[in-house]
Subunit: 310 residues, 2 copies
DNA sequence: CCATACCTCTGATCATAGTCAGAGAATTTC
DNA sequence: GAAATTCTCTGACTATGATCAGAGGTATGG
């Protein structure tokens, strides 16, 4: 159990460990110190599970069904926990007006106070960790954790194929066109988002949404242009997620989808204003081609030949 | 529960969060994904606590007493867990020859195989996390986690006052003189480490050791020079821990100790070969002074006036 | 309007985690 | 060598986490 903190400042260390080793060492040392169980949930006079449920309700109230999915709980178990919180007057449970089989759960004022206390403790714990560090070290720690957080989130993003009119898809596309409208000098006419989505669904097209914690963070689609050519459309990455390689990953994924749909080449158009996107396409092996459509907002056109799969 | 991954690449983010917020956000997202409970302990047909004990024994065999201290377990509980592992032929428990009240615990060959399986799963988990990332992203993640690991460890180092002949103190001092011997052009005569330690214990002196997970990572002492002057001696930081500010923290600590001992000024000598040390002293507000002793290895001499405390 | 599916809750049950008091063996102290 | 201490283990007990089957209310599709 010798500590091997592997100072990153010293590249001459004899045993530069692999990625997996670094992750494992970090897991071990971090969880030991921060408390894997996040002990801040303890000590409020209620068991861990109950506190965790209370916390989750405070983060986002919802139906018992939501909570069950978010916390991965058995319905009977959840019911019992709720009853306990209810009898302590920390939460209110009422039938959902929309579907009276379901029940809506929310915090009472007393519950909100208990939740605030959980928050306070959790903050206290974090404050205690950084307390012995100098300001410069805290900055370094914060930067390192933020970087790790971004990458870990990016690594665990889930990419799912959905219908282009799916609520999650529309939410992502709305963010996409809003951003275009903002960045294009002349603006971008935001019309009906469901228009022109025919080609983006099977059997010849597809649309995917990448979500993190259920929140859409990126999207993109493939539609057929005929002649074994697919076109990548509506590709977008949440601004706060840029720089984490999510775009490249999504692009690779869409290329795979296009290949599965039988396309041998993909094309796409974009606007020179979106500098990050242009750079990414070039990095991903796309080559500039002549204009192949009359999209008034497009200034750059790219194509890439797909390697055959399966 | 909106995700705010705060891309570090974008310094213009409107809501740059404080250190505590970053730590908390990271805690939440990381533990959710990596599994606070380190689920790799599960699924071997034994409960979590048993698996954790098995793992700990595999990392470092020892007496039940050691294990109890390391895992913070009740003696009765530990006894029961051991009996279970013993009945599964995973560990052997035998009386300690040195003190037959104690019992030594070690893995059997079957236990070692089970332990290897735990290791494999844990690695699998880490591999799974980094799998979706590109090589460059993995490097970034590894660097960020290593940096965070170093700083978190540094923040949780425990500084304790011990006798200068304490085993932990001697281990640290041995590493110190070995390093001097290696770095000094003419070598450094390593004599009896307990010699010259009289001044490093109360009531006029002190010696402290900084440990992480029970392993000495830094040390230093204060001895009286008379006339309200204390001298800082034998200050050393483990090579792998340099660059984490542990030296500065230890130095601050020793200044506090010196002040508590009634000294108003501290002096120290060092060798120009130890460039990091010289830089650190200057950063900490030490000013160069004339040679005040005949230490043949010393080339630089520093002093600092202490602010009054209490 | 009937069958079916969905949703929550209750009762029953179980394993695990964890605590406490004290028996009994080994060691140290006086 | 007796007394006090240290150490492990057993028995007794509690709470928590978790699962399963089924009752009974509510919605939906034909």
């Amino acid at each position: 159990m010798a500590p091997r903190p592997s100072a990153p400042a010293d590249p001459d260390l004899p045993d530069v460990p692999g990625h997996v080793e670094v992750v494992r060492r970090f897991n071990r040392s971090y969880t030991q110190r921060i408390g894997v169980l996040d002990d801040s949930f303890l000590g409020l006079g209620m068991p861990l599970g109950t506190a965790r449920l209370l916390y989750e309700i405070g983060v986002q109230a919802g139906t018992t069904r939501d909570l069950r999915a978010r916390l991965q709980l058995d319905s009977g178990y959840l019911s019992r926990l709720l009853r306990r919180l209810e009898s302590d007057a920390l939460v209110s449970v009422e039938p959902d007006p929309d579907d009276r089989r379901r029940r809506r759960v929310d915090l009472t004022p007393a519950g909100r106070r208990a939740w605030d206390e959980l928050e306070r403790r959790s903050g206290e714990r974090a404050r205690h960790l950084v307390a012995p560090l100098t300001e410069r070290q805290r900055d370094r720690l914060a930067a390192a954790l933020a970087e790790a957080d971004l990458l870990v989130r990016a690594a665990t993003v889930e990419i799912e194929q959905v219908d282009p009119t799916d609520p999650a898809a529309l939410a992502a596309v709305r963010a996409y066109v809003d951003e275009l409208d903002e960045r294009f000098p002349g603006g971008f006419a935001v019309g009906d988002l469901t228009a022109g989505t025919e080609g983006l669904r099977p059997p010849d097209g597809a649309f995917v949404v990448a979500t993190s914690d259920g929140v859409p963070v990126a999207c993109g689609g493939v539609q057929p242009l005929g002649g074994g050519v697919g076109e990548i459309k509506r590709m977008w990455v949440h601004p706060q997620w840029r720089g984490a390689g999510l775009g490249s990953r999504l692009l690779r994924h869409l290329e795979g989808v296009a290949a599965d749909l039988g396309h041998t080449t993909v094309r796409l158009d974009t606007n020179g204003t979106l500098t990050e996107a242009v750079a990414m396409y070039e990095r991903a092996g796309y080559r500039a081609v002549d204009r192949y459509n009359d999209n008034p907002h497009a200034t750059h056109f790219f194509a890439k030949r797909l390697r055959r799969t399966g």
